[in-house]
C-alpha cells in the first residue's frame, strides 16, 4: 500500500520560492515583450532568492531545528535540520548577490556580461552588430534561479536519488550560462563544453556509486545506509560506492585531483557566473559532502577518513603551487578556489561520531566567509577593463592603486582575506577549520595546511604589491599615463555587492563571535 507523503510547506518554502520564481521567469520569457524582460527577470530572480533567504531564516527562527524539531519531510526525501537550513540560507543569500552581479549593465559599453543572442554564431557579422546591443539573452536569470534552487535542494537531500536529481538541476543550467559571455565568446563556449563533458562524467561516477551503495544496502536513504554501514562497514561494495560518490561530489566542489575543469571554466565563463560558481556551487557541493559523510557514513569514519585526508593534502598543494605560476587573475582565483577546497576538507576531517562535530560548525562558517569574499573578489575583477572587456592579465593591474585607490583597497581586503590574514574573515575561518582538525588529532594535516597557506599568501600578496608598488601599465616613465586598463564606474548592483561583501569580510574577521555561535548552534544533521 502506497501512502501519500506529508508535505511540510514551511520547510519547503525556501525551495518553493526559488523554483516558483524560475518557472514564472520562463513564462516571462514566453510572453513579456523584449523591452521589459530584463528588469522583470532581475526583479523575479531577486524576489526568489531573497524570499528563499527570508523563509529559511524564519524557518530557523521559528523552530528548534537542532534538537527535537529537526525532522524529515516529503516522504523523508528532504531533511529539515540546522545545518541544512544554514546552508540553504547561505546559498540563497550568495545567490541574491550573484543575481545583482548578473544584472550590472553600466560597466561595459557592451551593456551586459551576457550575450545579446546566444544562437548567433560567434564572430559573424551579426554578432559584431549585436556586441553593443541593448538586448540580453535574459534566459540567464531563470536558469540561474533554477541552479540556486537545485543547490538548496542538494544540501537538504536526505536520500541519494534526490541528491542526484538536485545535482543535475544545479549542473545543467550552470553548463549553459557558462557559455553565454558577450565578449570572448569562443572561449566561453569552449568552457561550457568542457564543463559539460567533464560534469557528465562526474554525474556518471555519482550514479555508479549510488547503484553500488544501493546494491550493498538495498536503500538509497541516508539513515538506512548509516545503519547498514554500522553493521557491515567493510563491505567492498559500500567502500567502492562511497569512493565513487565522493568523486562525483568533489568534482563539483573543484577539489584536486578532480579539479582539471576549474581553471578553464572559471576563466572562460562570464565573470559574474564565475563568481556564482565559486561561491554558491562550492557551498552546495560541500553541504552534500558533509551530509553524505556525516549522516550516511558517519558510523564508519575510518573508511573515509584516509581518503579525505589524502585528497585534502593533494588539493591544498595543487591549488597553492599551481596558483603561483598563473598570470591571469581569473585563473589565479580558480587555483585559489582549489586550495580553499582543500582547507575546507581539513575541517571536514573534524568529525566526532559521539557528539557535536567541531568540523561541521567550522566548515559551515568557512563556507559562508569564503563565499562572500570570493564573490567580492570576482566583482572587483568585472570593473577593471580595457577596450576588449575585462583586463584580467596581471600586468594590466600594475599600479592600479594610483588610478583607483578605493578599488585597490577593496581588492587588497579580499586578497588578504583569501590569504587568511588576521582581522579578516579568512583568518577566522581558517583558524576554525584548522582547530577542528587539530582537536581531532589530525595535526599533520593542519601543518600542511599552514605551509600551503603561506605559499598561497605569496600569490595573493603579489597582486597587492603589483597594485601599489609597480609602474602602471602603459606608463611612459615620465609619470604620464597613456593607455592601459580603465576602472569602470560600477552601477548600483555591483556597488551593493561590493559593499555587502567587503563589510562582511571585515565584520566576520573582527567580531565573528555571533556568526560563529550561530554556525555552532546550526551544526546538526538529522540522522
Amino acid at each position: 500500500m502506497i501512502e501519500a507523503p506529508d508535505l511540510d510547506y514551511a520547510a519547503l518554502a525556501p525551495l518553493l520560492f526559488l523554483f516558483g520564481a524560475a518557472c514564472i521567469g520562463v513564462l516571462v520569457e514566453a510572453f513579456a515583450p523584449r523591452e521589459v524582460r530584463h528588469p522583470a527577470q532581475v526583479a523575479l530572480a531577486l524576489v526568489g532568492t531573497v524570499g528563499g533567504l527570508v523563509s529559511a531564516v524564519l524557518l530557523a527562527a521559528g523552530r528548534d531545528l537542532t534538537g527535537a524539531e529537526a525532522d524529515v519531510t516529503a516522504g523523508s526525501a528532504l531533511a529539515v535540520d540546522g545545518a541544512g537550513v544554514f546552508l540553504q540560507a547561505t546559498i540563497a543569500g550568495l545567490g541574491a548577490l550573484s543575481v545583482l552581479l548578473f544584472a550590472e549593465r553600466g560597466l561595459d559599453p557592451a551593456r551586459s556580461s551576457f550575450v545579446a543572442s546566444a544562437a548567433v554564431p560567434a564572430g559573424s557579422v551579426r554578432d559584431r552588430e549585436l556586441l553593443t546591443a541593448h538586448r540580453v539573452q535574459t534566459e540567464v536569470y531563470p536558469l540561474a534561479t533554477f541552479a540556486i534552487g537545485g543547490m538548496m535542494l542538494f544540501v537538504a537531500a536526505n536520500d541519494l536519488l534526490v541528491m542526484f536529481i538536485a545535482l543535475e538541476v544545479l549542473s545543467l543550467p550552470l553548463y549553459l550560462i557558462s557559455g553565454l559571455a558577450r565578449r570572448r565568446r569562443l572561449l566561453s563556449q569552449e568552457a561550457a563544453v568542457k564543463y559539460f563533458l567533464l560534469g557528465a562524467f562526474a554525474s556518471a561516477f555519482f550514479l555508479y556509486g549510488l547503484a553500488l551503495v544501493y546494491g550493498a544496502v538495498g536503500s538509497v536513504r541516508l539513515s538506512t545506509i548509516s545503519e547498514a554501514v554500522a553493521t557491515d562497514g567493510g563491505d567492498v561494495l559500500l567502500v567502492l560506492g562511497l569512493a565513487l560518490l565522493l568523486v562525483g561530489l568533489m568534482f563539483k566542489a573543484s577539489v584536486a585531483p578532480f579539479h582539471t575543469w576549474t581553471p578553464d571554466v572559471y576563466q572562460g565563463a562570464p565573470t559574474p557566473v564565475t563568481a556564482f560558481m565559486a561561491a554558491c556551487t562550492k557551498v552546495a557541493a560541500f553541504g552534500a559532502i558533509l551530509r553524505l559523510l556525516y549522516v550516511a557514513f558517519g558510523t564508519d569514519e575510518w573508511t573515509w577518513r584516509p581518503l579525505v585526508y589524502g585528497i585534502a593534502i593533494v588539493s591544498m598543494i595543487v591549488g597553492a603551487v599551481l596558483g603561483l605560476t598563473q598570470t591571469d587573475l581569473k585563473r589565479m582565483l580558480a587555483y585559489s578556489s582549489i586550495a580553499h577546497a582543500g582547507f575546507l576538507l581539513t575541517g571536514v576531517i573534524g568529525f566526532d561520531a559521539t557528539g557535536d562535530s567541531p568540523g561541521l560548525s567550522a566548515t559551515l562558517f568557512y563556507l559562508l566567509a569564503y563565499g562572500l569574499t570570493t564573490l567580492g573578489a570576482f566583482a572587483v575583477l568585472t570593473m577593471v577593463r580595457d577596450g576588449d572587456g575585462e583586463a584580467t592579465h596581471l600586468s594590466s593591474w600594475a599600479g592600479l592603486a594610483r588610478r583607483s585607490p578605493v578599488l585597490a583597497a577593496v581588492m587588497t581586503l579580499f586578497l588578504l582575506a583569501l590569504a587568511g590574514i588576521p582581522l579578516t574573515s579568512g583568518f577566522t575561518g581558517k583558524f576554525a577549520v584548522f582547530r577542528a582538525a587539530i582537536d581531532d588529532g589530525a595535526w599533520p594535516l593542519a601543518v600542511v595546511a599552514l605551509l600551503t597557506s603561506a605559499v598561497a599568501a605569496f600569490f595573493y600578496l603579489r597582486v597587492v604589491v603589483l597594485m601599489y608598488f609597480s609602474e602602471p601599465a602603459g606608463s611612459t616613465g615620465s609619470g604620464a599615463v597613456t593607455e592601459g586598463p580603465t576602472v569602470g564606474v560600477p552601477g548600483l548592483p555591483t556597488t551593493i555587492v561590493l559593499a555587502v561583501t567587503a563589510a562582511a569580510t571585515v565584520v566576520l574577521g573582527v567580531v565573528p563571535g555571533s556568526v560563529l555561535d550561530l554556525a555552532g548552534e546550526a551544526a546538526r544533521f538529522v540522522g
Binding site: M1, I2, A4, C23, V26, E29, A30, G215
Partner: protein, 120 residues
C-alpha cells in the same frame, strides 16, 4: 544480501553466451545475398544522408523536436505509476500530478511562444 543478485549474474552470462554464439555462428550458417538497401547503415526506410562532418548539416529543428519528445516522454514515465497508484494517493496525488503537468506545460508554452513548433 548479495545472493539476491545471483540470478542477474546468471542472466548476464546467458546473454553474453547467446551474443557470442550468434556472432560467431552467423558468418558460417547465414546466406549472403547483398543488394543496395541491405548495405546501408540503417534499413529503416529513410534514405541515409551524409555525415555532418563531410558537409551534410542537420537543421536544428530536428533537435527541438527530439527535445520536446523527451520532455513528454518523461512526463508519461511519471504518469503511469501515478495512474496505477491513484486509488491509494487520492486527491493529494491528483493535485500533485496537476502541478507537475503544469510545470511541464510551462516549458511547452515557452517552446511554442519562441517559435519552436514552427517547421519553416
Amino acid at each position: 544480501m548479495l545472493s539476491t543478485y545471483v540470478p542477474i549474474v546468471g542472466l548476464f552470462g546467458l546473454a553474453a553466451a547467446f551474443a557470442l554464439f550468434s556472432v560467431t555462428a552467423a558468418p558460417y550458417v547465414g546466406p549472403r545475398r547483398y543488394n543496395r538497401a541491405k548495405l546501408q547503415a540503417y534499413e529503416c526506410g529513410i534514405e541515409p544522408v551524409d555525415q555532418p562532418l563531410t558537409g551534410g548539416r542537420f537543421p536544428i529543428k530536428y533537435y527541438l523536436t527530439a527535445m520536446i519528445f523527451i520532455v513528454f516522454d518523461i512526463e508519461i514515465v511519471f504518469l503511469y505509476p501515478w495512474a496505477v497508484a491513484n486509488d491509494a494517493l487520492g486527491v493529494f496525488g491528483l493535485v500533485e500530478m496537476v502541478v507537475f503537468i503544469a510545470t511541464v506545460f510551462i516549458a511547452y508554452v515557452y517552446v511554442w511562444r519562441r517559435g519552436g513548433l514552427e517547421w519553416d
